[in-house]
Amino acid sequence: MINIQSSFAAVLFFSMMICQYTYAATEISGAGATFPLPILKQWISGYEENHSVKVSYLGLGSAEGIKRVTARTVDFAVTDIGLTKSELSQDDLLQFPLVAGGITPVINLPNVRAGEFKLTGKVLADIYLGKITFWDDSRIQSLNPSLLLTHLPIHVIHRKDGSGTTFTFSGYLSKVSDDWQKSLGMGSYLRWPVGEGQIGNEGIAKKVFELEGAIGYVEYLYAERFKLTTVSLQNKDGDFVIPNIDSFRRAFNQASWKRPSYYESLTNLPGSNSWPIVAISYVLIHRTNNDRLEIIKTLDFFDWIFSSSKSIDGGYISISDPTLLRRIKSSWKVLTDSKGNPVLK
């Protein structure tokens, strides 16, 4: 009887060990920005079709992603709040760029079509500061003389979670408005003077879609999916620019990638037809890892993304420069297991 019990216990123990090993080898998890969520979902589904690995990603906002990867509850984070080298070193993290895209203000105004409504950065800042409260304000009307704007209150919609989209959007407003720079600055969370908070890019898109008179800011694909009215925004050179992949690329191409952290600020850049609010999503992974197999699978996922995403849709810009890709992949060689052995040989 004892022998049967012992054998059963041994079988059970080894089954559990095998299950644990299989689970570790076949599932990787990430969390963070909602900005690249639509393209990440496409990539995950494409990767899972060709690999026996399950990738889970929770779009909880960039700040939550950083928090979770720091707490080591996920294998990787994706964040639009780029960290600098000194910050990365304090948290034993490695950072590399994954994808870029444009952030666009979106509005819900009757009889206004996408791209025909013009805004300057300063007027946009004054709307978000609560200094302009009606759509027929003279400063808005003077930018749009051909549009007959009604006396409709402006409903400001912003993020209430720690957001990289907010970080980039407010960074742009800080560069174009002294009032914004002095009173609020740039941040993932802000003490918004007016408006209503929503969670995620999708939360803002939904609210703007539902509420007449609303204004929000989202990653371009969310504007397209919810058929929201985008605006023509004045850039540093004074051009009124329409958001699309070409205008995003004009800003993106100005990135130098010279910093070891790859951190780039792509707001309010000069250049004809250059979109003034472009964000980069970065991947964060720990430099030392307990589970060697899991980190190899994580790197394989990103390697697959880089090799299969030369042309992607939805207004996103892939990282396709061969020199940059070589640098990124070379930086993965610093990753080690808990004993200090390199993960990649």
Binding site: A63, S86, E87, G171, Y189, P260
Partner: protein, 141 residues
């Protein structure tokens, strides 16, 4: 133990209790936070704004080494009231971060009082923030 010794012990205990109680009353109403983490990882995990955490960590280190300040306390409003700005000139990225906090000055007073301070961090490119502390005004106590 003699009666005299017991009395002395009771008096001493009462005095200690009174001192602790007065310290608690002294600090009552000060809008300080119970978030006492000082290192980068802990501050991130407790949910501070990621972009200001390097400045918070550098300030804690600065105060620890400082001869002018004894201790630092973050306010519940520190994170939300922080003002962070960055600019790039000739390829050099400069970040300036302003934070509000409370500090204990390194004085020989019997009763310490927390005074409001403004912290200014300047971070150039990938470097560590340089910290500058300024006392806003004297303590209300």
């Amino acid at each position: 133990m003699t009666k005299k010794k017991s009395l002395r012990l009771i008096t001493l205990s009462l005095f200690t209790c009174l001192t602790i109680f007065s310290q608690i009353v002294w600090s009552g109403g000060t809008p300080t936070t119970f978030r006492v983490s000082k290192d980068f990882k802990s501050l991130i995990i407790q949910g501070e704004r990621p972009e200001i955490v390097a400045c918070m960590t550098a300030t804690s280190r600065y105060v620890k080494k400082s001869l002018d300040y004894k201790e630092l306390r973050w306010l519940d409003s520190t994170s939300l009231s922080a003002i962070f700005n960055e600019n790039e000139n000739n390829g050099q990225l400069t970040r300036v971060i302003s934070l509000q906090a409370l500090a204990l000055l390194n004085t020989s007073n019997v009763f310490d009082s927390w005074i409001p301070i403004v912290i200014r961090c300047k971070q150039v490119d990938e470097g560590y923030p340089e910290v500058n502390l300024n006392v806003v005004g004297s303590s209300k106590w």
